[in-house]
Structures are given as C-alpha cells and as structure tokens.
Symmetry: C2
Subunit: 114 residues, 2 copies
DNA sequence: CCGCATCCGAGTGGATACTG
DNA sequence: CAGTATCCACTCGGATGCGG
C-alpha cells in the first residue's frame, strides 16, 4: 500500500472504525471461531470459551446477528433449543482475520524474539 | 484464504488478539494517522483529534512507543518540546488498516445501502 | 435448555488544575 | 509546551437467580 494522502484519511476512518466495532471486542472473533468449529447451541458456545459469561455472550450474539455474521434459529419443542450458525458472509472476514494474524505473528517476533 | 482447520484455530487466536490490542482501541489508529499526516507535538496531535483528552493521549502514546510504532524525542530548551514521529515499522500496519477499511466499506454497503 | 434481570465492584475515561 | 494528578461519573462485565 502506498503512502496515504491527507484527503484520503478522513474517508478511511469511519469504515475502519466500523470494522473494529464489529470484530474488535474481546470476544467476537472467539465466538465466531467457536461457531466455525461447529458449536451451535448457546451453552456449547459458552462452554467452549473460558471466562465468557452468559450476559456478555448473549449481547455479543445479538450484535453479530444484527451484522449478519450469524443466524439464530429457534427450534420449537421442550426444552427450547436455539441454533446459531455462521453465515456465508462471515467468511469474508477470514481475510481480515488472516491479516491481523500475520501482523500479530510478525510483531511477536519483533518485540519478543531477539 | 481457505477454510480454517480446527487445529489451526488456537494458534491463530493469540496473534490476532495481539494485533487488536495494539490497534484496536478507540484512538490508536486516529493518533497514528494524525502523526502520518505530519503532526509532531503533543498539543498538535491532541488538537487534531476531537474529544481526545490529555490523559488518554498520554497513555496511548506510551503504548505506541512501547510497540515501536512511534518514537518520542525530547528537544531541550524552554519551553520543552517533544517530537513524535512514526516509525518505518508502523508503515507495515497500512496493509492491515487497508483490509479493515475495505471490509468496512463493503459492510456499510451491505447493511445500509439497499 | 435458553437467556434475561438484577445487583454490584472494578476499571475507564472525561474535566480540570497544576508542575516542570 | 508537555504531561501528571485528582476527582468523579459512568460503563463494563462477573455472579447469581429466575422465567419461559
């Protein structure tokens, strides 16, 4: 990527902020990966992520549904079961996550590995 | 990026988290861009970013210096002046930011633009 | 099983004033 | 100018209990 020009900066900020809001929290990527791994139910997801409380999971799942990263389906019956699935759209985040991952790997080497 | 395998997931999480810790806050990218734009001094940077308080700026700059994204140079004299500059290393973040930006742009279109 | 409501403590961040 | 100190409002998130 070449040097950013000043007039480009402002227009870049909002979309960057949007993306960070959507995946930038402490849990969202973990939850997404948990679902990618095959976990479908609330308790399953909760148990797969240490230290994640029901309150936070609940609100994160809502955000993610609003952003179309997952779908939520209630299966009638008793007890009620709910199924969370990742959308095809969520797959488009993989290149973003890959970029974050690569930079983070490299950074570890730079900061720690001497 | 192809589908992630399960055993890859865990190894991906830490570096992703590292990167988000470094650029994921509310201000770090704004500050970096402000410095890229040419702002060098504490007050200059502060004034260029609405709503940013001195306390937060101060602590963000320290983090960023620790992560080698910027350098801090005190220029003797009175009053004291300090010069912040972005490092060559910080430029490596541009591809990450570009990826965040592209995804965010696309997402806006998907969510809002119908 | 799903997941919201409530209570509550700790940490964050803003405003302001002050030192070097 | 650079940055710290202090005070304080507010949010976040953990624990727990309950209703559907």
């Amino acid at each position: 990527m070449k040097k950013m020009e000043h007039h480009e900066c402002i227009s870049k900020l909002l979309p960057v902020r949007d993306t960070l809001d959507i995946i930038g929290g402490k849990w969202k990527i973990l939850i997404l990966i948990s679902i990618w791994e095959g976990n479908k139910h609330f308790r399953e997801i909760e148990r797969s992520i240490p230290k994640l409380s029901t309150k936070v999971l609940s609100s994160e799942l809502k955000d993610m549904e609003a952003n179309q990263l997952i779908t939520r389906t209630v299966i009638n019956g008793f007890p009620v079961r709910t199924e969370y699935k990742s959308t095809a759209y969520s797959e488009t985040l993989k290149s973003v996550i890959a970029e974050l991952h690569d930079w983070g790997m490299n950074h570890r080497k730079k900061i720690l590995g001497k």
